[in-house]
């Protein structure tokens, strides 16, 4: 066996390993490597009460209830298929509003209500002036908060 041929074998073995690695990565991405779960994923999985997780989705229109006496807020996070009720007390980010994407971190209570320790607002990749947003919405081309 010549030096050249041995080199060829080594390169072939290396490339094969890289190929398998790439296949494994693609396979892993089909499963879940996530920063947060959607409400549907939450429903599909058996999550034990008290386990710290993150849930992401849109704040459902008309679901925000603020308690007058405290900072406690209740709202529903939805991915349009399933939804989960969230209770949170503390400072909310500027972008928090109905129809907006949020990621809440906390745990699911035994009653199915998610008690959040942290609420993060997620914004989509659309940037536009308010007038354009209004015009688009009037024309029915685009739903507010329809991204994500």
């Amino acid at each position: 066996m010549t030096r050249k041929r041995r080199r060829l074998y080594m390169v072939a073995a290396g490339v094969t390993m890289l190929g398998i690695a790439a296949a494994l990565v693609l396979n892993a991405f089909q499963d879940n490597l996530v920063f947060f779960f959607s409400p549907s994923e939450l429903a599909a999985r058996e999550i034990t009460a008290g386990q710290r997780i993150r849930v992401g989705g849109l704040v459902e229109e008309g679901s925000i209830e603020r308690q007058a006496d405290s900072h406690t807020v209740r709202f529903t996070v939805t991915d349009t298929a399933r939804s989960v009720r969230v209770v949170y007390s503390g400072m909310l980010p500027d972008l928090f509003r109905e129809g907006q994407g949020v990621v809440v971190q906390g745990s699911l209570g035994p009653d199915g209500v998610f008690s959040a320790e942290e609420v993060l607002a997620k914004h989509d990749e659309n940037y536009m002036p308010p007038e354009v947003a209004d015009a688009l919405q009037k024309a029915g081309h685009w739903q507010k908060g329809g991204g994500t």
């Binding site: 080594m10 390993m17 398998i20 690695a21 499963d31």
Partner: protein, 233 residues
């Protein structure tokens, strides 16, 4: 190595074994760096419950991450000697001249490094996991992630070790170069236990760790060999 033997060793298996056996023998005779790394892994892990208090729930939550951080640091401790000592006593020049491709020599040395650091750490990890109050059904998973992850640590580390051969303050520099590259291994290693506890299962994390190992296996020895060749120019 005699020329007669080279002809009967076409794939370099025997030469590979020679380098591996030499490094293992050095590790055993000198007894130093590698054993110290494992001791550091054990002592460092034991110190944490003493420092933050023996609260079981807290320990079991941070346990896997803690073991992983300690494994990372312990792997780093012994890495700066990987090529440095051979470079200092001149044997590196001879190793480079041997008929075995330099990347295979690197792979043999990395294997030796893993056998005396990563493997013992993996083997003691279940005991430490019990001390850290990690749930019994997760202990096997922790050991499995270490088994998959520590070879990757040794492989990535070999590139840093080769780059810093002959450098001023090589040890500190090595840490600075290698720790950022260790971050993905840490994320998936420690994250797999969280994923298994939280529900989605650790399968995708384990796949990612296997993928990282398979990618590092050809690439890291190749890069380390290139760095060594430049170091000896």
């Amino acid at each position: 190595m005699r020329t007669g033997r080279r002809r009967r060793d076409p794939l370099g298996v025997r030469a590979f074994g020679t380098v591996l056996a030499r490094d293992l023998r050095l590790a055993r005779r000198q007894g130093g760096d590698a054993g110290l790394a494992v001791l550091f892994f054990i002592l460092g892990t034991v110190l944490v419950p003493l420092g933050i208090g023996p609260e079981g729930a807290l320990l079991s939550r941070i346990g896997a991450g803690l073991l992983w951080v300690m494994a990372l640091l312990a792997a780093l401790l012994s890495l700066d000697r990987l090529f440095q000592s051979d470079w200092e006593d001149g044997s590196l020049d001879l190793i480079v001249l041997s008929p075995l491709p330099l990347s295979m020599t690197v792979l043999a040395k990395v294997t030796a490094h893993w056998l005396v650091t990563g493997l013992p750490m993996t083997l003691v990890s279940p005991v430490l996991a019990v001390l850290l109050n990690i749930p019994p059904d997760q202990i096997g998973l922790v050991a499995l992630t270490l088994l998959l992850g520590t070879p990757t640590l040794s492989l990535i580390g070999s590139v840093g070790a080769a780059l810093t051969v002959g450098a001023r303050r090589g040890g500190v520099l090595l840490t600075l170069l290698i720790l950022p590259l260790y971050i993905p291994v840490l994320i998936f290693g420690a994250g797999s236990v969280d994923a298994a506890v939280a529900g989605p299962g650790a399968k995708s994390h384990l796949l990612m760790m296997t993928a990282m190992l398979l990618a590092a296996l050809p690439l890291c020895p190749w890069a380390a060999a290139a760095a060594l060749r430049h170091a000896l120019d």
